[in-house]
Symmetry: D3
């Protein structure tokens, strides 16, 4: 893995297998996160900017400087059909790094959405365009174009490591990153998990208790759980 | 009042009078809070997870450990028709303690909703089910089942004391707890308050000022409020 | 400019030119903020309390004491058709200073909405009335009427200076204040800005890159941006 | 237990046994919290205002209104030798409710310190007087005296229930509340705990591992912990 | 008053009378804030970076861009003996805008310290130099020099309006701004206030209660405060 | 690079060259961060728990579960002379994962300190032992030992990627991670940087301006900076 570094653009990245991405897009974030062993989740302060936003695609990563969105334009050129731009920042910054014009550009290049550890603006337009964005803030404050960051280096975004080409899945429950090498396995594990849940759902609906479905009474008793009138 | 303690489940709790709960369900949180003398409000960081969520019912309390939702399953067995599960945690934790399967279980047992000083997930499903949840966070991060907490002990949830059987009312304005002994009185005071407000509403609508409706000009003058051109 | 001071109400204020306010109301907050040179934005923690809320009007300012909304009633008398009440507080306070009755009063006096560095309640009613409110919190906690603040003094609201009569524009992207003397100029600059953007939007939509539209390749190269395979 | 209510002062409270308080004062907060079963801790945002501050005493409780410290003066009269004033607020407020003059008054009445879910000021003086204060903020902003709160009602302070007469222990690690009925038992359990730790400390110092001291290798293996080169 | 604007340096500013500044330097922030009528306080998140830091001087204001400290160097040239640099930012930014080299420069120009709504670094050096700094964060993250801000325009710093030449007083209790025209009056009012406090201090020390010293019993009774056994 | 995974301990890790670690230990965090190109800094909420704490060593990484410090004991066995334990958590958790007993154990194994994106307790003891700890919180709340995490996997700690064997440098300005392969280069660049600064320090001390030392007047003028009287 190359190191995180400022001032560089990697033009050849290895993207996860499209079939695996397609398979993963059928599942919710909570399911994918469980299926991959409970790692890879971004901090929950990254939220959808409009109701119903969801996305699944391969990461083109951007490392931004605070209050400066120059690298977003550099990233646009690297976007291919099916990508999701994942933008981190060298420091905490909630400025509006992204708005309707960049969304228009990203969409024209084939992007499926944006995940950003920063702020965005033109949120009413983004909703109208149905261009899904997950951000830490909404902020009308625009940015300058003065300092170099990087594109397609590994970045830490909202406390999660994202490498170019990894799969990013996002919905109302949050954002999870699946390493590209694990995409197919995690999709399969997600399917298995969903299948198992349906049987339990039926039992819960019928009034059965998790205590019995999962056989919890004995271990709870062994740990000393005490029932009192 | 028994003390807060870990590792115990109280199976007999005294619930507020159902008629009083029914009466309280007609009022908004702001009205109930005023009517009971401006105490009992949870901290405002507890928010509905979908638009339009509202609930009113009797508390089954849960004391959770961080990142561990085992006691939610223990609580399910204690739920009766008309209850609301109120979950506190021994420390600050925003993990997703609750999702669609538990909601299915709680509903099957008669629960009217959940108030939790923690995180929840499967929010799109919760909205589809219209199972009202008020939480401090949305978080795809699941939880383990490894450590004992308690059910139906008094808990402090988002800085408010909640005892089993107390009435919990929640809507877009927040969450308020009415001690079970005061439920009928507070319902009555809420009705009185609403009646009074209607008359004032008419006067405000007609352009009359609060300064005159409430007779504020004299006390303001006495305190020295100065009008300048 | 008179100083910020407690216990005074200014009854004659100079409002921005109505035609300029009308002109500004056609633009979004992000556009106005750019057009006036990237100053005047409130901190982004002030958010609309319901989806779709927007407003544009001249400021009647209020300086509140924590947990005390007495001055809101004093302010109501100073409101004229087309005003927006802008409420600051002498300290951080998220209590519910404002609800449906005051909204009824403000509307009857001609107010177009409220911007408050504090909390509000009766949010469901405010949405039903379509009375736009931008606040830092939703909170059922009511307030007392015991201490003097001021009306129509300059205030600092969410880190922005607002003088009585300045223009306030608010939408989903945030809240911006335009000094009354600059209202016409900023409206004109906003119109120019929007016109310029339309041409760029077409080029972005056609797949052209910001790198080329804005001529960024050369300055990026001069700063040393490196492309690697 | 009487309910939390505004506008009342309880003049007779039952204080924990002085010998038990004396015994508890020998232990740190972390030890006491463990010894009482890991409940009763205030949220960790309550911090000492100067290095080395520590206290142990019986609670005189105060329920404040935001930005209003009137009840602190009412509380002073209820203080007896060995008490600690515990101040909660009906809402989040970080104003400076307390300073050097009140500290002088409290000390003259026998108080051992203050725990407050709010702000304080004159911190340099408090340190000079060595009057221990644990607060959520330091804030020069003074308060008014206009609205009733209560004294010696049960309060929720920084998410912990505190009843008049309970024991409060505070040091650099935080603040814990011991119910008055449990004071002697918890003191004894604290002593036992400290004795046990000394033996372990010796073994750790000698380089022995917790894995062996606590017999953790087997349960870790059973859960599937995998060692890889 | 000129407007806040980017890209301008005002070289002639009107500073508060040096004798008034000298007089104000004798008082603590809490006293000055009370004496000027409880306005002018910065938000309490601005804290001293080392114990014992205090300052009093006339403001040279700086408006920074996020992550960019270029204007600090521009400001250095405007500093005169007895000034305090007050740095605001166009957005929230906690980068380290200031360190030991700039402190050396500012001191050489006569500055008495820095108040900044941002981060600083080299804190160990600042303490060794005893160069008082009040900031919102400590952060090793350095800044670029790429974008224009302004010097000696009015700024809003941590929610307080500061004009060039105003007096800034800072100590462990916080930071307060005294408008230059009011400096002498506020110094005098501060002295009066301190004199009054000494008499009260003696009475408190002797065990007298605020209830009696301030004559609070009657108004409390009128509001309905109830004493119960 | 192996992936982050739960339930595994890597017993052979490649540590940075000891001579390079020794060389890095001579520099402050701000210098090292600049020297390595302004990457690798942890978020600034990780702070020293006592004044004067500093450390430099090679990382033994730990991935904790919320409220569970079992893996700290597993990590102790992997510690070698000169290591620093770097503990991340699968979610945000401020519980007290670490105290004086574990510090005794870590020190006995050769550890130079701890960096943790969580809470710690026994802070008075840690200071007495002079065992440097950098944490996000101080919290008396203890933890359980029930769930598997990992040791010596790459972790994201306070938004920075840390791999086992990387160099960690921490002081009052923050915490920075130097990839093990770059340790020698960064130490050399740090030395160069410090040498350059000394010359500038002399010029600043003599009253010279950064505007002239760095030749800033021309570029500022080109960008349009305007001086006005």
């Amino acid at each position: 893995m190359q190191h995180t570094e400022l001032g560089v653009v990697h033009t050849s990245i290895e993207r996860a297998d499209p079939a695996a991405v397609e398979a993963l897009s059928a599942f919710g974030v909570a399911t994918v996160h469980e299926a991959m062993g409970r790692v890879g989740l971004l901090r929950p302060y990254v939220r959808p900017v409009y109701p119903g936003a969801r996305l699944c695609g391969t990461a083109v990563t951007v490392l931004l400087q605070p209050g400066d969105n120059w690298m977003m334009h550099v990233a646009a050129e690297q976007v291919r059909e099916g990508d999701v731009v994942v933008a981190a920042c060298t420091t905490e910054s909630e400025d509006g790094f992204f708005g309707e014009l960049l969304a228009t550009s990203f969409r024209a290049r084939g992007a499926r959405g944006l995940v950003i550890d920063g702020g965005v603006r033109d949120v009413a337009d983004l909703e109208r365009m149905d261009f899904p964005v997950f951000s830490r803030a909404v902020n009308a404050k625009g940015t300058v174009k003065a300092t170099l960051g990087s594109v397609n280096v590994p970045v830490v975004c909202a406390n999660a490591l994202v490498r170019p080409g990894d799969v990013v899945v996002a919905d109302v429950d949050g954002v999870v990153v699946v390493p590209r090498e694990r995409a197919a396995d995690v999709a399969e594990a997600s399917a298995t998990r969903e299948a198992n849940e349906e049987e339990k759902r039926q039992r819960f609906r019928a009034g059965e208790l998790g205590l019995d479905i999962y056989g919890m009474r004995e271990p709870l008793g062994e740990l000393g759980l005490r029932y009192e009138d």
